[in-house]
Point group: C3
Chain length 383, copies 3
């Protein structure tokens, strides 16, 4: 009996272990870049493929690349505002289809690189529009703006390629600025709210509420999708967590740095409460901490520096562009991330070539493999 009980216990523990392994591997299948999905999708319908590409594009906005995260983000946008979710989806589709028609590189399209630049202008057009939700005419500039992003992406890539730089969200930033300039605040067809610079307002009369400032940190992650509600922002953070815990940690850290910077420059309280101070810091921190550079304590310090730079540059650019009623969007973090990628010196040693960028955790593994490979190569050539 004793033997039997022991065997049973052993079997039960074995089953539990295998179940655990099963769940874990299932979870692991859903995290990271989900490359296996691409192989699986190759024989499927074009429409299904397009959905996966689009979902990848949705997550590219927040520097992730995982279709399931894309579903979470879209759910978060729907929760915050169905109209915004519709605009975003339309933007992704418009730019992806334009890219397909224009004969862009299929790897870029399937990786969602065209989709993510198309999503942001239409989202922002909705946010800045003063015509209210469900103003159907807005779909026209949203689609056109998203389609134009493909032109800019395709045109900027040969220029930036010379220094192995990503195009990032330059197209979105250019298009949204052009759109807002083109329509102007009093356009009869597409009116919009002018942006207010964070530093040029009346002095802060009220006391700063610490809890609200703390809540601004997760909101900063949501503001990457122009989403200012707490629940959806946390869901977006969850989507990043699903892709890579390291990236999610850096997003929160960057947003906190951005809030700190906002405090140090005495920006208007609303800017802190809404998370607008934090989102450029978050993007700057995520880009350096793990995504474009192999994670290490050194990269981590540079990521914090990048968050500070992004946040300060964002305040400066907001004050500048605010004088003509324009928002600074994510110019600051895009420029800062580009600068960090160009850096020579100790950071350059950790740089991952743009073509090999994947989830931070995967980058860590592959980096050690390269090094091993490089050593092996060197040995083999030495011999």
């Amino acid at each position: 009996m004793w033997m039997d009980t022991k065997t049973e216990a052993k079997e039960a523990s074995r089953n539990r272990a295998s179940l655990r392994r099963c769940v874990l591997s299932g979870l692991l299948l859903c995290t990271g870049d989900m490359e296996h999905l691409d192989k699986y999708m190759q024989e499927k319908l074009f429409v299904l493929q397009l959905v996966v590409w689009g979902l990848r594009g949705v997550t590219r906005v927040i520097l992730a690349n995982n279709p399931l995260s894309g579903v979470l983000v879209l759910a978060a946008l729907c929760w915050a505002s169905p109209w915004q979710a519709l605009l975003g989806t339309l933007g992704v589709l418009a730019s992806m289809l334009t890219a397909v028609i224009m004969g862009q590189d299929s790897a870029e399209v399937s990786g969602g690189l065209h989709g993510f630049n198309g999503m942001l202008p239409s989202l922002l057009m909705g946010v800045f529009s003063s015509a209210g939700d469900w103003y159907w005419w807005l779909l026209l500039p949203a689609c056109l703006g998203s389609a134009t992003c493909v032109f800019l992406y395709s045109g900027l890539s040969p220029v930036l390629e010379r220094w192995d730089l990503p195009v990032a969200v330059f197209p979105f930033n250019i298009i949204i600025v052009l759109y807002l300039l083109c329509t102007g605040p009093d356009n009869p067809y597409f009116p919009h709210h002018p942006a207010t610079p964070p530093g040029l307002l009346e002095p802060n009369g009220t006391e700063l509420i610490a809890v609200e400032v703390m809540l601004g940190i997760p909101l900063g992650v949501g503001q990457i999708f122009a989403c200012g509600a707490l629940g959806p922002s946390l869901l977006i953070l969850g989507a990043v967590l699903l892709y890579s815990p390291l990236l999610a940690a850096h997003a929160l850290l960057g947003s906190a740095v951005g809030t700190l910077v906002g405090l140090s420059m005495a920006v208007h309280h609303d800017s802190l409460y809404s998370g607008l101070s934090g989102f450029n810091g978050a993007l700057g921190c995520m880009a350096v901490g793990g995504l474009f550079f192999t994670f290490s304590w050194r990269t981590h310090l540079f990521a914090i520096a990048s968050a500070f730079l992004s946040a300060y540059a964002d305040i400066a650019l907001s004050n500048l562009l605010g004088t003509v009623g324009l928002p600074a969007c994510s110019w600051a973090s895009t420029l800062t991330a580009t600068l960090m990628l160009l850096l020579t010196g100790s950071l350059a040693a950790y740089r991952i070539p743009i073509g090999r960028v994947m989830a931070p955790e995967h980058n860590l593994c592959s980096h050690s493999q390269w090094e091993a490979g490089d050593t092996a190569d060197r040995e083999s050539t030495d011999v």
Copy 2:
């Protein structure tokens, strides 16, 4: 008798045919790039050569390259305003002589590439000057500005060459903006009118007149030379037609697109009537439709897209620069054309290397020859 009549008729028809052929070949000699003239001019006086180079430069403004078209354009400018024609001529000469003195590439000088950038600043200085016509002091900044264009052309070309891009009218656009900034509206020596942005004016109170809008389309072609009268504009269009009918068609098409864009953004009526809404569209359309790309239905669609992009970007930039009293000049079309030249994907296949760009009709022929040549090359290397 019957035989004789028949022979006579045959001979008459033969004569008519040879006459037709003669006239046609004479006409053909005057169209296109007129390369044969360069060979003929090589032994002539330097002054005569300079005149031909200058006339080529005058037409380069409108993306053509034909001395006879240059004569027509100068005639049109003279018709519109002799003072403007004088300023333009002086600008061309000043920049060409500067280029010769500075030891610039002689092929660039003889191709009129330095002349055309020098012509535009002096023309625009005349247009914006609020000191009236025949204000002789203006010749000083006109000459200096035109000469400075050569510096900018020479400095920008190594940068843009990396991506096989033309310098286009970047020098002109930079110089005129610097000049207007430098003098400011209340300068005691060189006062000028501040530019008014098309979207920031009082709301359009009056009804839109359809005929005037239609007339704005050919005026848009004239506005490339800052010429707002119908007769000279048509003469300028005729000059383009002489160089290349395809280019003239695209000029009109682009101007029409620009007017449409102006209507869609509800710009001020004067902007539509004067053709100012159209000229950036016209330039954007001409650059893509036939000049820098081999003509085909695909290129044609891209040309229309380029016209739309140019026109929208022009409104956006006019609104932006208008806040500091500056005009947007041809920044929009220059940037858009540069973007189109950088595009990857299906358009890049039609791209003509900058060194081989000629009249659209000639490009069409030579493209098929290259393809044949390439095939022949491939076959010969295969064997």
Copy 3:
């Protein structure tokens, strides 16, 4: 006796000659780039090395590279305002230490290339601060701004390297503009004076005083270090003279050209009296006349052209940036010098590769050596 006297006289003259040679060689040791010092310093303490690198950095601001000149410049700054001298020293140290920590190229650090970009933002922060001298909180942004310059220097260098261009003072110009934008005029912690554009002021009511304008010329050299007093400015000019008399002559010439340009554009009198009109011209003139190009009468003419261009561009940019309360700093001369370095044609033949740039006098010698070397090389390869 006669013989003795003769011998004595001979000996005395020999002694005088050797003394003269001694003094001359001692003087020569202190002029130019003082490369021998680097060899001598290699075995010394790190702190001593840092001092030499820092002093080189101080002189790099005025395009020189000589530790003794650095001592003179620091003395001049101390004379003008000890607080400014402290800020400047701190800026140099902060940026150099950041460069060392970030693992930047040691040749760049020891050449003072990182130091000079760090010195200027902290100097300018002090000048624009409206909180008065000895406002200790200012040390915080001064250090941070100087440290950030290293990021920009390191990031811009791979981009500009493609065209063999120096990074020059682009980092300083970017950082100071960002700082002033970030804080804004009414910042509660770091308030600053808004810049006033030279052309947008009330009309000049008073008569122009010729002597004051003349005094503005040496002041223009001092304004490179934001120093507006005559004595220190002359001392700074002396520091340049110690490095290279040719450079000092071009500095004065450029400042005179800048003043002339200011007169031609009727800028406000204070701008002329304080030397602010002159300093961009001085920098533009120095860069072309001898430093980046071998000195010759042709280069000299281009140097004057460069001074004119810099000065006009400075007025234009001051008017533009002044609309949002920003100063034009040395944007104009930096951009103009970059343009001159890119020029093709006859000037390009005199271009010195960036890695070989030294004192103008040394450049002259080495250029003739290269030519001899090149000829020798050609002959040896011919055989």
